[in-house]
Amino acid sequence: MNKNTEVIKGTLAKRYAKERRFRMLGMISVFLGLLFLVVLLLGILFKAAPAFTQHYLSIDMNYDADSLGVGTNPSIKELEGANYRGLIRNTLYAQFPEVTQRNDKRELAALISGSAEYQIRDALLANPALLNNNARVQVLLDDDVDTYLKNNTHSGRVNEQQISWINTLENSGAVERGFNRNLFTNGDSREPESAGLLGATMGSLYALTICLLVSFPIGVMAAIYLEEFAPKNRWVDLIEININNLAAVPSIVFGLLGLAVFLNFFGMPRSAPLVGGLVLALLTLPTIIIASRSAIKSVPPSIREAALGLGASKMQTVFQHVVPLAMPGILTGAIIGSARALGEAAPLLMIGMVAFIVDVPEGFTDASTVLPIQIFLWADSPERAFIAMTSAATIVLLVFLICMNGLAIWLRKRFEKQW
């Protein structure tokens, strides 16, 4: 053993201690990160849980033609215009014969959701034979009653009398708790119990489709041109710098651009997924270009040389060899980019997608909103039940994003080739 060995031995302990400290710090930061994530997710999940279920009231109802105010053999139009509100109220009053005061009657009727009359209307329209017959129907309870039942606390939104009626109904077995279908089948509503995400989800899908249809081909082509064909000069450098800068521009600026160009200049419809998609396309374009360029850059030059050496033209080399090999990276970039677009709310505020829209959009030009904006709208609503709904919508958005990232990983594995 020479002198150096001794010296090195002396430093070893210190070095290993440093290494251990560093590893510890790394583990702590990873753990903290995970902890925040778990807290966040669990918080959202706990908050959202009540929104996935809802309380229904089951009552026997007689579709009495007189109460409805229609004839014995009414037309569809007559049925549509019938007095369902009276019918449901009368049925409810029959349950509590002791309620006679006008004020009390109003409070009793307030137990039931305002959407109940449409529910029984739809049931009758679907099956006109029910007229003048008895049927057990399930109607939604009002959101305040629902919240009271879920929490079992007195919040002030329901009074003592209402609570006693609810308890009576509950004891008779008429109140049931069931899965909240409305969340996934309805559009937005002022009533939390009948508000749903379908409108916003469809709006997001439409906007995303437009976004990908526009940004993917343009982005990939731009990347291929810049990477493979563009001459290396100052102009191309300038373009490159600007694309990189564009990726860092605040997204609201793209919204302003969309407002100025698409709405004011081209006169496109306000609040439409078409315009939303175009704005999102502008937003994702730099991401797709940058990701595609790096994917193209990572294709080994030896493949290019091989093709060129065999007499393939530049175009053939690029499209027969480089692009297929870069495809997994390009697709991943596109999906990550569009996932970001999916989560964007700010630019869409500027083009009017923040409007309150009840109808589920049926095309690219129908007015609609998107998931992140729906979350924003609900978070802003005063009704207590919307707190849970907001969290539920967040979860739906997260699931959407996880699915898209999963798709990206799957595509990458599927198309990846060894060379």
């Binding site: 290396k232 030896s302 060129l308 065999l310 007499g311 033209s313």
Partner: protein, 280 residues
Amino acid sequence: MATENAEEKSNKVDIEQQLGETVGEQFTDEQKFALRNVDVYYGDNHAIQDISMDIAPNEVVAFIGPSGCGKSTFLRVLNRMNDTIDICRVSGDIRLDGEDIYDKKMDPVLLRARVGMVFQKPNPFPKSIYDNVAYGPKLHGLASSRAELDDIVRTSLKRAGLLKEVENRLDEPGTGLSGGQQQRLCIARTIAVSPEVILMDEPASALDPIATAIIEELIDELRENYTIAIVTHSMQQAARISQRTAYFHLGKLVEMGPTEKIFTNPDHTLTENYITGRFG
């Protein structure tokens, strides 16, 4: 530090003074390639300086020289592979069978079909063995039917001495072969286009001695039908396979002549220093 630099500089001047006209026999009676006064610039860097030489039909010419001497650059001049580099500029008269290959009328795609290239690192496409070989003929429309294409693929693989080893797995990926097999696949891919000249840029530098020996044997056989120019770092390899050898130094052609002469009695001191492993 400063004195060291000065020393280095003075050393370089010495070497440049030794570099004069090319010595030896760089011209031949018959010519496949005739190159006169070729200069190549990479931006401001004068990479190839006034090189003239002939390459005779059906001969193997080896280009040797220290790293950065311009031998690979010079090889790439012969099939215009340098075209893909923006800052690269080539001047001089370069003729293949009397045709100026840097003429506007000469299509680089056609040229590269006539002058094939095999690279240092085996670079099969990430496709099947069959598709690798069939790519060139398909690209140029050399086969009119599937049967004809099959025939071209099999003959090319056979000529490259690979057919026996891969006969039963033509649809397996070419990247799954061993290094030596991959390089022979690349040679098969090149000869499937039936070029007239094959350029090889250190084709065996990534291979073990046995695979190298197989490639060298193959080059010897290919000489019957093709003209071959090969860049190699291994002087023994140049000595084994080539008929003539060219020694490059700092972008200049120092000496060119019959291989036996270069390796037993070179005329230029720089050649002598390089091949005997002396300080140059």
